[in-house]
């Protein structure tokens, strides 16, 4: 039996290639603009790690063909409650557990709502997003210390270092990769994303997987929330609010189809998140101003997706 040809593998590598191009561009522009590129790498890690964590977990949800827009708000609520727990107990471990626990509860509500009542998950998460954002405001009101909830910076500073964050990310990715490739869960999830009817008729329990997926992704959210506090211990109503959209962009940037299915990859999330990190460094070095900057960012995003799409074009318009 033959092997896959190089050509057939291109779509798998296109996004990684995109990341490499961005890194190259980063170094070139950095050199021209006389930037501190070494520090920039640190900045990229700092700024991408939370998105990478949340997105890596979210790959499970996206693989199933679902679409979760409430991830940012969930991260925000977890972080706020984590911070409040820390302020109440003074224990980082409690804070960590609360972050994860809250995310798990939210994920469980999300997925069981969707699977018990057969709701379209996207709309469910739209509703969840507005509830969670409103809840953040309510939490800040309860906390009663102005517009923020604060953890003492010096208490979390020891954790605010690259090795800690990277090891957390690597550990989580390893866990996800393990579940995704070495356990049946990943295969089954991909199958559901590819053809839910066939998956059901092959004896796969869709509801169970939906719940597992949201629990795994909840762990990512919890870790993301924890690192959000570690990175910037002053939280407000908009904390982590951009993560929801960033995750979608990262996953797509990383070469995974938004519709999920067999072409889903765990590493898409990291590749995408870091691509975004480098892109945002490049944009900041170019100093183009908010409007033009965003236009070019959008154009590059579409271009990368277009190239990564490879030869998957049909006579019919994609839906």
């Amino acid at each position: 039996m033959g092997k896959q040809t190089w050509k057939e593998r291109i779509p798998t590598f296109a996004s990684t290639l995109g990341l490499l191009v961005l890194i190259a561009a980063y170094y070139i522009i950095g050199a021209i603009r006389d930037a501190n590129v070494a520090y920039g790498l640190k900045a990229v890690v700092n700024q991408s790690v939370v998105v990478a964590l949340v997105a890596t977990g979210a790959v499970f949800i996206y693989t199933l063909g679902s679409f979760d827009i409430s991830l940012g708000a969930a991260t925000g609520v977890s972080a706020l409650l984590g911070a409040m727990a820390y302020n109440a107990t003074g224990s980082l471990i409690v804070m960590f557990l609360v972050c994860i626990g809250v995310a798990v509860v939210i994920g469980f509500i999300n997925s069981s709502l969707a699977s018990v009542f057969n709701l379209p998950i996207f709309v469910t998460t739209v509703a969840m997003m507005s509830v969670l954002s409103a809840f953040m405001l309510i939490l800040i009101g309860w906390n009663g210390a102005g517009d923020t909830i604060k953890v003492k910076a010096r208490d979390v500073r020891p954790l605010d270092n690259i090795p800690f964050k990277v090891s957390m990310l690597v550990a989580y990715i390893a866990l996800c990769w393990f579940i995704f490739t070495l356990l049946p869960t990943g295969r089954e999830a991909k199958f559901i994303g590819g053809n839910p009817i066939c998956a059901k008729l092959s004896g796969i329990d869709e509801k169970k997987l939906a719940i597992i997926a949201s629990l795994i992704s909840a762990v990512g959210i919890g870790l993301g929330a924890f690192l959000t506090i570690v990175y910037a211990p002053t939280l407000n109503k908009d904390t982590a609010s951009s993560i929801g959209m960033d995750v979608i962009i990262a996953i797509v940037f990383g070469g995974m189809p938004v519709s999920g299915g067999p072409r889903s990859r765990i590493l898409s999330a990291v590749v995408g998140a870091f691509s975004m990190g480098f892109l945002s460094q490049i944009m900041s070095m170019l100093n183009l101003g908010s409007g033009f900057g965003q236009m070019i960012k959008a154009a590059i995003f579409l271009l990368v997706v277009f190239i990564a799409l490879g030869s998957q074009r049909s006579k019919l318009l994609t839906r």
Partner: protein, 397 residues
């Protein structure tokens, strides 16, 4: 066909990258200063930005690198990281989610840090005043914010207005600046509302501020012989919210609407032709001028665009190696207030000085006296304190 598409897209990608690298390469070389902003679109923010990027940048050969519109402390930290990557020599901050973190981050990285709007709290100042890289803060303190609100309400009460509407902007989000302005307004009403006037039982500034923080909002009702007949807060921009605003303007017997900010943007359309007086805190832009001309806007307190000139001068001094410190070697903490226009003529006068990109309120000639080595703290403090319109006009002469 497919190959063509692919080559085309690759080529496009390459060209894009190349152009991207070439265009800004020319600008490299000058001193870079990072600017943190949590608001990129209000007219005040835009006026500030124009003053820096279109006047100061040319006059002093500095390049300002602006952050995105920040929404949280994590964004501030990321932006400062980006400034460090770009080898910025200093950061000027208009964003206040976590000031202490900003100061510490800049200090650790060895770049100067200055606050351009608002001030530190007293405890914060005590903690950071000795930091080598903390330049200081010039801008309205919370007291000045409070006073601005107070003056606005007092202006109308003195004119005999008794029924008020209020727009609270960021009050439901616990934005300090807005809460202090609102508290100032309520305090004026309590003080001038006659015997026994109080706001929900609170009858002094401290209690009122506490009450607002506790509620996350403001309640309508009688304050002595005055009455707050309507209140809207937040920036929801949905149908219900616009409805509330329209409803407020249409409230029976309402005479004036005092706002903590963005009054014309959110209420202008409703106030037009209604006869209700509108007061706000904003900036001296042509759009506001038109609103004042047409009678929509009745009272405006505003920071003039060049009011951020002195903090630049201080930062520039620091970069040049001679930071301005007070007699005890501490960082700057200087107050600066608003200009208030209550009629069109006055507004135009202010605006003429303020909106020019070639001859702003603080020109290079003026700033040069302070953006130079060896400026004494006393001289500088005196210069900053002369912020009123008349004083500046004198200065310019």
């Amino acid at each position: 066909m497919k190959n063509l598409k692919r080559t085309l897209s690759m080529a496009l990608c390459l060209i894009l990258m190349l152009t991207l690298t070439c265009v800004p390469a020319m600008a490299a070389g000058s001193v870079k200063i990072g600017v943190l902003v949590s608001d990129a679109t209000s007219s005040e923010a835009l006026a500030f930005r124009a003053y820096y990027t279109e006047y100061i940048a040319k006059a002093y050969d500095v390049e300002f690198i602006y952050s995105d519109e920040l929404t949280d402390a994590a964004g501030e930290k990321s932006s400062i990281e980006n400034f460090i990557v770009n080898n910025c020599k200093a950061v000027i901050s208009f964003s206040s989610f976590d000031r202490p973190a900003q100061i510490e981050q800049c200090d650790a990285a060895g770049i100067y840090y200055a606050v351009a709007t608002g001030t530190l709290t007293d405890e914060q100042y005590e903690e950071y005043k000795d930091y080598e890289y903390y330049v200081g803060a010039i801008g309205p303190s919370m007291d000045i914010e409070f006073q601005t609100g107070y003056d606005m309400a007092a202006y109308y009460i003195d004119q005999g207005v008794t029924r008020f509407g209020m727009f609270g902007g960021g009050v439901p989000y616990y934005v300090d600046m807005h809460i202090y302005r609102a508290a100032g307004m309520l305090t004026a009403m309590v003080e001038k509302g006659g015997e026994g006037a109080n706001y929900k039982g609170a009858d002094n500034a401290g209690a009122i501020i506490g009450q607002i923080y506790a509620d996350g909002g403001i309640d309508t009702g009688k304050i002595g012989n005055l009455e707050l007949v309507a209140y809207v807060g937040g920036y929801d921009f949905n149908d219900a919210w616009f409805g509330k605003l329209a409803q407020m303007v249409g409230t029976e017997g309402i005479e004036a609407i005092i706002t903590v900010g963005s009054g014309v943007d959110v209420l202008g359309g409703f106030v037009a032709g209604s006869g209700v007086k509108l007061a706000t805190v904003d900036s001296f832009t042509p759009a506001m001028g038109e609103a004042m001309d047409s009678g929509i806007l009745d009272y405006m307190a505003g920071k003039f665009a060049a009011s951020i000139g002195p903090i630049f001068a201080a930062t520039y001094d620091a970069i040049q190696g001679s930071p301005i410190r007070d007699s005890e070697g501490c960082a700057l903490a200087l107050g600066q207030g608003f200009w208030v226009a209550t009629d069109s003529e006055q507004f135009q006068q202010y605006s003429a000085v303020d909106s020019s990109n070639t001859d702003p309120a603080y020109t290079r000639e003026i700033l040069d006296q302070y953006a130079a080595p060896g400026v004494s703290f006393e001289d500088f403090a005196a210069f900053v304190s002369q912020y009123s319109f008349d004083e500046i006009v004198t200065l310019k002469k």
